[in-house]
């Protein structure tokens, strides 16, 4: 868990264009680059599975910021924010998706965990630039599908007390279940220990993950 935050920070130090290019290589279908004028580039990538077009605007000159395209909970956003802005503040301040909470702002507590390309990251230490062209899933996205098995399990085990850390707990658990559909106690302990809960809901979190893992028709 700690590692994902550090990865994110490393990513932010890459030159913007390299990072953009790498994100395309990852998606790796069709990349076209056209010089429009001066140093402005339009780049597009088509994803075959969804037939969708991502457009990126990069400009090396002063003043204007490049547009960073991110898909959040299935909706595309073209963002002109400072690429170093942590994803947390993009979600909360810019897009008003305040279901993602925060506390330590240093990647230690896990409360702000969201999924980027299916991987759990700490949004407080994940720069916007590192999620360019990626899919981001937050608690709002998960909760938009009615009765997701994980949320049903969370309710059935009556997990929340104050509730503040629960979006981070749930998103971390979601990534765990996607990686390991029937996680052992040891896997749960190793993964979920990255998200702190002062109310002490840990025992119910364990049970809820097992319940979701065993739920009929589970899926993401």
């Amino acid at each position: 868990m700690q590692a994902s935050g550090q990865d994110a920070q490393r990513t932010s130090e890459r030159p913007a264009f390299m990072e953009l290019a790498q994100s395309f290589v990852r998606r790796a279908i069709a990349v076209c680059t056209t010089t429009v004028h001066g140093a402005v580039c339009w780049c597009g990538t088509v994803e075959p599975s969804e037939g969708r077009l991502y457009l990126h605007w990069a400009r090396s000159g002063q003043g204007e910021r490049r547009v960073i395209a991110v898909r959040i909970n299935g909706t595309d956003h073209q963002l002109r924010d400072d690429p170093a802005t942590p994803l947390l503040w993009i979600l909360r301040d810019r897009l008003e998706l305040r279901g993602t909470k925060f506390n330590c702002l240093s990647g230690q507590c896990g409360v702000c965990t969201v999924l980027v390309a299916g991987q759990p990251v700490r949004a407080c230490v994940t720069p916007l630039s590192s999620v360019a062209g990626q899919d981001v899933l937050t608690i709002e996205g998960l909760a938009s599908s009615d009765g997701h098995p994980l949320l049903r399990a969370w309710l059935a085990e009556r997990v929340p007390q104050c509730g503040y850390c629960q979006p981070g707990q749930i998103m971390t658990a979601l990534a765990l279940l996607q990686r390991s559909p029937r996680p052992s106690d040891a896997e749960i302990d190793a993964t979920m220990s990255g998200v702190l809960c002062r109310c002490g809901t840990y025992q119910r979190i364990r049970r809820a993950i097992h319940r979701a893992a065993n739920a009929p028709g589970k899926g993401s």
Binding site: D82, T85, P86, W89, R92, D93, R94, E96, L97, R98, G99, T100, K101, F102, N103, C104, L105, S106, Q108, C109, V111, T138, I139, E140, A143, L151, W154, L155, R158, V159, P160, Q161, C162, G163, Y164, C165, Q166, P167, I170, I188, D189, A190, M192, S193, G194, V195, L196, C197, R198, C199, G200, T201, Y202, Q203, R204, I205, R206
Partner: protein, 694 residues
């Protein structure tokens, strides 16, 4: 949120009639004011704490004077209403009351959520209010149908007349009911007819909390709102000497960098701008009067303080004589550290100061104090301040102190805009109002049969650390003294307050006496608790469920402890293995009537986690007048992997409800220390235990 409702309520107070096409019932939580919990009365004779409204649209709203921080009070209160009103608890909408004189509990003189009082204060009056409303709805139906009220009954949100098969929903009856006189005598349901109370009930707020929809303080967003953070002097009582704001002001999005009483504030358009600005502020501080303060110096000073006499807190018999005549005297010193609260939601408050009014949105446990803080900071009368309470991302007592409210209000006033102040994590850790430290010296006398003849306890520390001392044992000669010494570190209530630390002292020392007498710690306690049946009850239940004695055959080690606080009794048995890993925590509670056993279980689990975290790991360290720790890396909390199996058991009881949020915590630390003694023969008298184990 509650504004329409509140406006209707205020009109009601003024005019004395129900408004808004519904039935509005006020509830006096305090036994001293109108005990019947009556409807729509003249304002000058009635000061209700809660309001129940049944709308013509069938909505049932409960406006209450309590905060919800995970302790489940909103659900418990709704259950009390649902029981007597004969409605499904899930149809009740709960809302947080604003700060207002009519919500002040005359007994405490303040509107606040603490001391595990939520359910026990509401137990009688809220049920009476709901029963009153039920009676009025039945009377309205009877009048409409021209039948005797006795022939009608309430069921699932309707009134029915079985003989004619007629029925009417509450919403259809509410306006007519509002014109009727409230019943003089209200009869509450018999216990055997309870359909809601005592049934495990999911918290009403859980769906909002698992979907990210619940509104916490940090989620408040107002048009034109700016955000702010404050750079503070690390040392307690230090002052700002100078600061340079040039670099911070150049950060795009930063609107202002200004001196405030607690340091330097950075105000801007969004959090990222403000946080970048914060990094660039250079502040110089004068360390202030506490610069020599250190944990070692505090410990040494309190250790000296117990040499001298203190104020007598409890006394019976002739302790000095009994001690000098004793065949065996046991002596021990115990010490407990400062602790941080560290709720997961940062300290925060959103404030909007305008010419003649001020409004704040805040996750607070203390509305009255929040209002006072805001009024003082705004330079306005208290009544000009509206307090909106949000969901609270963890309280544990921290949000009974509202320092962040005054700060946010000052900033809003200074920049003439709504401002949301959010504390940094390090500030939350370094500028908490800590559970105080204390230092205790004990002496006890055993006679030649191993019976405890005398107990002398002298505790030194801040006033708050001298309370919550429960010694229920039948000891003929006893004296407890307190030496009030405050080293200068800010303190505040921390879940179960004095009991959180003094249980460790009392229940470890009684364990020492049991071992000195060569007795089983459980049997030893039970023998001394002949006159304390509820202590015995929880001890016996916890011991039975934990398999006391039986566990030893499996290679485990057990410790036990019992404590009373906040009107409930709790006992805990902890199992550790050879490596001292905590395997299981079994807690039994006698909290009288368990209104929501689900909440009781959750609170006991939470108390076990927080209690273990504190007992094993937590200790605020002071150096140079400041807190040393700055992050979770150096102030670690218990994690999920360290979470043992926790079992909770409730003593069946028909007594009125006791507290639930706090009483589960005190026995955890001594039960663990006693288990470690059982495993190792080492008596650990200083918290946290992991540090003591080395």
């Amino acid at each position: 949120m509650a504004s329409d409702f509140d406006a209707a309520r205020r009109r009601l107070l003024k005019t004395g009639v129900a408004v808004g096409g519904g039935l509005l019932v006020g509830v006096a939580m305090s036994a001293r004011s109108n005990p019947a919990g009556h409807a729509a009365m003249a304002a000058d004779t009635f000061a209700p704490d809660a309001w129940l409204r049944i709308g013509a649209d069938d909505r049932i709203e409960l406006l209450i004077d309590r905060s919800e921080m995970g302790q489940g009070t909103l659900t418990g209160l709704a259950m009390l209403v649902a029981e007597e009103l004969e409605v499904d608890v899930n149809t009740i909408e709960t809302r947080f009351a604003p700060a207002a004189p009519e919500y002040v509990n005359p007994l405490s003189g303040t509107q606040s959520t603490g001391g595990s009082t939520g359910i026990r204060a509401a137990w009688e009056p809220l049920r009476r209010a709901a029963a009153s409303a039920r009676g009025m709805l039945i009377a309205a139906a009877a009048q409409r149908w021209g039948v005797a009220p006795q022939t009608c009954r309430a069921q699932r949100g309707s009134v029915r007349h079985d003989a004619t098969g007629r029925q009417a929903r509450y919403g259809e009856l509410a306006s007519l009911a509002a014109t009727l006189r409230p019943p003089g005598e209200v009869r509450l349901k018999a216990r055997e007819d309870f359909a809601v109370i005592g049934k495990p009930t999911p918290c009403l707020d859980a769906p909002a909390k698992v979907s990210g929809r619940a509104l916490y303080g940090v989620d408040v967003a107002l048009p034109g709102m700016l955000v702010a953070t404050i750079v503070r002097c690390p040392a307690f009582g230090g002052r700002l000497q100078s600061f340079s704001a040039e670099a911070a002001r150049k950060v795009p999005g930063v609107r202002a960098v200004l001196e405030v009483p607690s340091g330097v504030a950075i105000v801007g358009d969004d959090n990222w701008s403000v946080l970048r600005g914060r990094e660039l502020v250079q502040a110089q501080w004068s360390p202030g009067p506490n610069s020599e303060l250190s944990s070692a110096a505090i410990s040494a000073a309190l250790g000296r303080a117990v040499d001298g006499p203190g104020e007598v807190l409890a006394q019976r018999g002739e302790v000095d004589t009994a001690l000098s005549d004793a065949t065996q005297v046991i002596e021990a010193d115990y010490e407990t550290p400062y602790l941080a609260h560290l709720p997961m939601e940062p300290m925060n408050c959103t404030a909007h100061v305008q010419a003649n009014r001020c409004e704040v949105w805040v996750p607070t446990q203390a509305q009255t104090r929040a209002q006072q803080e805001a009024a003082q900071a705004a330079g306005l009368p208290q009544r000009a301040v509206t307090v909106n309470t949000t969901f609270i991302g963890g309280g544990f007592g921290r949000r009974l102190t509202n320092d962040y409210v005054g700060e946010a209000v000052r900033l809003s006033k200074a920049v003439k805009a709504p401002v949301q102040l959010v504390w940094s994590f390090a500030d939350g850790l370094q500028h908490d109002h800590y559970r105080p430290t204390n230092y205790t010296r004990l002496r006890a006398a055993l006679d030649d049969k191993g019976r405890v003849r005398a107990w002398q306890q002298r505790v030194a520390g801040p006033r708050r650390a001298l309370g919550g001392i429960d010694i229920p044992y039948a000891i003929p000669h006893l004296r407890v003294e307190g030496v009030n010494r405050d080293p200068g570190v800010p303190t505040g209530p921390w879940r179960s307050v004095g009991a959180s630390q003094n249980a460790f002292v009392v229940e470890s020392f009684i364990d020492e006496l049991a071992h000195a007498a060569g007795r089983d710690p459980l049997a030893f306690r039970l023998q001394l608790l002949n006159q304390a049946p509820r202590h015995r009850g929880v001890l016996e239940l916890a011991a039975h469920k934990a398999g006391w004695n039986a566990a030893r055959s499996t290679g485990g080690y057990q410790g036990i402890a019992v404590y009373y606080c906040y009107a409930s009794w709790a006992a805990t048995v902890i199992d550790v293995d050879r490596d001292l890993a905590v395997r299981r925590v079994v807690t039994a509670i006698d909290c009288g009537t368990a209104v929501n056993p689900e909440t009781v279980a959750a609170q006991l689990e939470g108390a076990a986690v927080m209690g273990l975290s504190a007992a094993l790991k937590e200790s605020i360290q002071i150096r140079g007048g400041a807190v040393v720790q700055t992050s979770f890396a150096d102030y670690p909390l218990l994690t999920l992997a360290e979470m043992p199996q926790v079992e909770t058991h409730i003593v069946p009881s028909e007594a009125p409800p006791g507290g639930v949020g706090e009483p589960g915590l005190p026995p955890v630390a001594p039960a663990l220390a006693n288990a470690i003694f059982a495993a190792t023969g080492r008596r650990l008298r200083r918290l946290p235990l992991r540090q003591a184990l080395g």
